[in-house]
Amino acid sequence: MIPAAFEYFAPGSVAEAIGLLEQHGDEAKLLAGGHSLLPALKLRLSQPGVLIDISRVAELHGIEAGDRLSIGAATTYAAIASDPAVLGGCAVLAECAGQIGDIQVRNRGTLGGALAHADPAADLPAVVLALDAAIAVQGPAGARSISADDMFVEMLTTALEPNEVVTRVTFPVLGAGEGASYAKLKHPASRYAIVGVAAYVRLHADGSVAAARVAVTGAGPRAERQHATESALVGSAGDAAAIAAAAELAGESMEYLGDIHASETYRRAMVKVYTRRALEQAVARARG
């Protein structure tokens, strides 16, 4: 449980961090909250020779409110969960961040770290997908934006290029007729998602469903949109029967991971149960 030796840098800017990444190549790893990286170091699953600590880079911090919410990558879950602008404009993000791990994890873990790490049981990727958030990154070749749908490639793998840093993530501010929810079956010890479902809906004035985005995390190797559920819901009345029918379609084409706490069969069933719960809640919120 003791990591191998490493060199430690604490750059003052993103540019400096990128410079260090380029200088040390494969040897180097970014360190944010450390709540995925440090366990991996201690178990010696990962043995980088250089750690570049970006947790105190000022430009990676802060929540900027406007038409959209722009959140710095090094912002902690605790900061997100208690931020008035998030609670007012994008409450589902606070709802999700507030359920991650325990207090220690929430005080250290960061938005950028969670997305870059892409743990199959991480919560935030589902919300990022359901809200169609945009991930701003910066690298040796400059800055670019990655759409949520392109971000999560496979287990522990994202669309980030080598030496790219997640800098900010932009979320929509939800208005009238919109609602979102995150429903989670927690691992009893770690609180990671065994199944986590994020749902977003927008309703027409008559109450029928104009748009829906649903994403599942925890059950399989990566967080995934649930297109069949979304299509079934759009155009429906958004009532209990329509939600139940749409939820039955969730997880049908997914790959599953089973473990000693929950088999693949159980996860498959729970994807439907939690999709229904997330959708019921999202619709109820959209109706106000």
Binding site: L185, P188, A189, S190, I260, H261, A262, S263, Y266, A269, M270, V273
Partner: protein, 718 residues
């Protein structure tokens, strides 16, 4: 004094961290031990090469089987090697012991001990163990049988023929990990008198001493065992853990040595509660009279004997629960496998057996349309009832009173609704568990009391080797002595943690210390008082208390007088079930216990609440898992324990006091009993809520959901 909720004198030190547990005894300059484990479930050792490990700087010695004077240990059957010589039989078997200047060097050297193994075929579970071609784990044990017994009474065939209804079911329970707070640790050295001294935590000073002396081929008075504060035990410190390893290293190396286990070492190598498979058949008449019970109980004993023999006897004796049944045919079988050994754990076979028996009583009641409480009342043990072994129960049969107390309390419960979408149910179960050693095992406790003072008694010194594993026995012993002598608590001093300074009180197990050691303290106090009145100064008396004798069970039919005292209990649980996910939430627990006499009421309630937490974990989530002889749950991220958030918000302990005829002030033991009825009461509540029957423990969400779906599908069938 008796019954008062006196605060625990040890509490402040334990909470502030001032108290020394065994791991706190490590001092600068001590040599450190690290164990080389087998890491494989079944293999022949061809060769052990310790040269690379010995060459590592800081390493003082690497001990192997050749260094152990008598290389066998065990509580009942000394069948476990201290360090394996020829064969390893489970992953946690110890192969070598490194002694080094510091812990890091010791650990590093373990990786350099090269063991050349030839893997042997795996005996992965009881079914594999029973196979006619199964390899034998211990060549002198045909059929891989640790112990087999049968108990027959009446005419089972006729009993089943007389039944209006016969139900059969197979129940399964899992291993349970003791999960005490403080992993095994200790220190040892050879003192100036040439005695080997071991300071650690355990459950029975004098038994640890006996086994260490046997291992070192020393007379027992050359071995001293002392206990520091003990961070929980629950049966998990009955088998030797680090005691003998410390003694061996100190003796061979003539050094002060220390060993502190990591949690994963503790979990992966120590014995567990036995997993049982119980196939059982119950017959009853329409009026609810149980006419016959047949049961076959298979226990996975793991690699070594430990206490399997006694556990399977207890489980078999309780296969009919606390019900008088005229016709019984019971068979119990404990088997060797290449799994972690199974041994003592709070309840000692009773929870497993009564998960089956209590569940069957509820099922019979439901099938007959009789209220499960009424069904119990018709069949419960009464004063003078005959046990399966054919003899009347010891006096003081109070299970009916426990059940009545629970039912009265139930009637007073406020009505409330479960959360939306959840279903709520109530379940009731009873329980029985022996107090003290069984089946003719010599049972005694000895205490010495010395009174000093001039005109009046100023001070009493009580000596008895009682291990306070956290249950509060030290305070209980002092309260008993103070009450017997009419002294204030502060005048009574207890010496209890040193095998050289105390007489043998037996183990902290089988809920026995309050009754047996408490009675010895009580009687010694009165004897010393008599001498005080005869003007002896100081007045000193030693008393050995031996309760009513028990007998072994006859081989042919199990006839005998197995126990001298029983503890009785009944429980009701209110449980919410989410049928969609299978999640269960225990809302209310009513737990009634006849404790004879509460010596310290707060401690009794503490034992009830603590045992209920362990029971809740066992019933709902705790599942130690092995596959192909490898441990899959060696930490608390994989082995799930309940937390405060999982406990029932309402716990109502009911303490009954029907005096026992042998215990001090009428007290009888109670610390295991809350574990006995919990799981079957939970299963009954789940059934009440959803119509689903659970027959496998733990009742995880996945299993509950599957059972609910089966039950619902059954309803839909024509």
């Amino acid at each position: 004094m008796i019954g008062a909720s006196l605060p625990r004198p040890d509490a402040v030190g334990k909470v502030t961290g001032a108290t020394a547990y065994p791991g706190d005894l490590v001092r600068a300059g001590m040599a450190h031990l690290a164990v080389v484990y087998a890491g494989r479930p079944h293999a022949r050792i061809r060769h052990i090469d310790t040269s690379a490990a010995r060459a590592l700087p800081g390493v003082l010695a690497v001990l192997t089987a050749a260094d152990v004077p008598f290389n066998r240990f065990g509580l009942i059957d000394a069948d476990a090697p201290v360090l394996c010589d020829d064969v390893v039989r489970y992953v946690g078997d110890r192969v070598a012991l490194v002694v080094a200047d510091d812990p890091a060097s010791a650990r590093a050297a373990t990786a350099l001990v090269r063991v050349d193994y030839e893997d042997l075929p795996l005996v992965g579970d009881v079914h594999a163990a029973l196979h006619p071609d199964a390899p034998l784990l211990h060549p002198h044990r045909p059929g891989n049988i640790v112990h087999r017994l049968q108990i027959r009474r009446g005419d089972p065939d006729r009993g089943f023929a007389e039944a209006d209804i016969v139900l059969s079911e197979t129940f399964r329970t899992s291993w349970q990990e003791h999960a005490f707070l403080q992993p095994e640790a200790g220190v040892a050295w050879v003192d100036d008198d040439g005695r080997i001294v071991v300071e650690t935590a355990g459950q029975w000073l004098h038994e640890d001493r006996r086994q260490i002396a046997a291992m070192l081929r020393l007379p027992e008075d050359r071995v001293v065992v002392r206990y520091a504060a003990i961070g929980g035990a629950f049966g998990g410190r009955e088998d030797l853990g680090v005691q003998h390893l410390l003694a061996l290293a100190a003796w061979v190396c003539r050094r002060h040595v220390a060993l502190v286990w990591r949690r994963d070492e503790s979990m992966a190598t120590r014995h567990k509660r036995h997993p049982f498979t119980i196939e059982t058949r119950w017959g009853a008449r329409r009026d609810g009279t149980i006419t016959a019970v047949a049961a076959r109980l298979l226990a996975d004993g793991g690699a070594y004997a430990s206490t399997s023999q006694e556990v399977v006897k207890i489980a078999t004796l309780f296969a009919t629960g606390c019900y008088e049944v005229a016709n019984v045919a019971l068979e119990g079988l404990a088997l060797y496998t290449n799994n972690v050994p199974s041994g003592a754990f709070r309840g000692f076979g009773s929870p497993q057996a009564q998960f089956a028996s209590e569940s069957m009583v509820t099922r019979l009641a439901r099938a007959l349309g009789i209220d499960p409480v009424e069904m119990r009342r018709r069949n419960l043990y009464r004063e003078g009832s005959i046990e399966p072994s054919g003899e009347p129960l010891p006096p003081g049969v109070s299970v009916r009173a426990c059940l009545d107390a629970v039912v009265d309390e139930l009637a007073r419960q406020p009505q409330s609704a479960p959360p939306a979408g959840w279903r709520r149910g109530w379940g009731v179960a009873c329980g029985i568990k022996n107090v003290g050693y069984s089946f003719g095992y010599p049972e005694q406790a000895t205490a010495t009391v010395e009174l000093s003072g001039a005109d009046v008694i100023e001070r009493a010194v009580v000596r008895t080797g009682v291990a306070d594993v956290g249950q509060g026995s030290h305070l209980a012993m002092r309260q008993i002595a103070a009450a017997a002598l009419g002294l204030a608590l502060g005048q009574v001093h207890l010496i209890s943690d040193d095998s050289a300074a105390t007489p043998d009180a037996g183990s902290a197990s089988a809920s026995r210390l309050t009754l047996v050691a408490g009675r010895a303290v009580h009687d010694a106090a009165l004897a010393a008082l008599a001498r005080w009145h005869d003007e002896e100064r100081p007045a000193c008396a030693t008393v050995q208390f031996r309760p009513r004798a028990t007998t072994p069970l006859a081989a042919a039919d199990g006839a005998g007088r197995p126990n001298y005292c029983y503890g009785y209990t009944a429980q009701a649980l209110e449980v919410d079930v989410d049928p969609a996910t299978g999640a269960c939430r225990v809302v209310t627990i009513i737990s009634a216990h006849d404790v004879g006499r509460a010596i310290n009421r707060q401690q009794v309630e503490g034992q009830i609440e603590g045992a209920l937490a362990q029971a809740l974990g066992y019933a709902l989530m705790e599942e130690f898992q092995m596959r192909d002889g490898q441990v899959r749950t060696a930490g608390f991220s994989t082995y799930l324990l309940p937390t405060a958030l999982d406990m029932a918000p309402r716990i109502i302990p009911l303490i009954l006091e029907h005096a026992d005829d042998q215990g001090p002030f009428g007290a009888r033991g109670m610390s295991e009993m809350p574990l006995v009825p919990f799981a079957p009461a939970l299963a009954a509540a789940i059934h009440d809520a959803t119509g689903a029957w659970l027959s496998r423990q733990p009742m995880t969400p996945e299993r509950v959901r599957a059972a609910v779906r089966r039950a619902t599908a059954g309803e839909e069938q024509p």
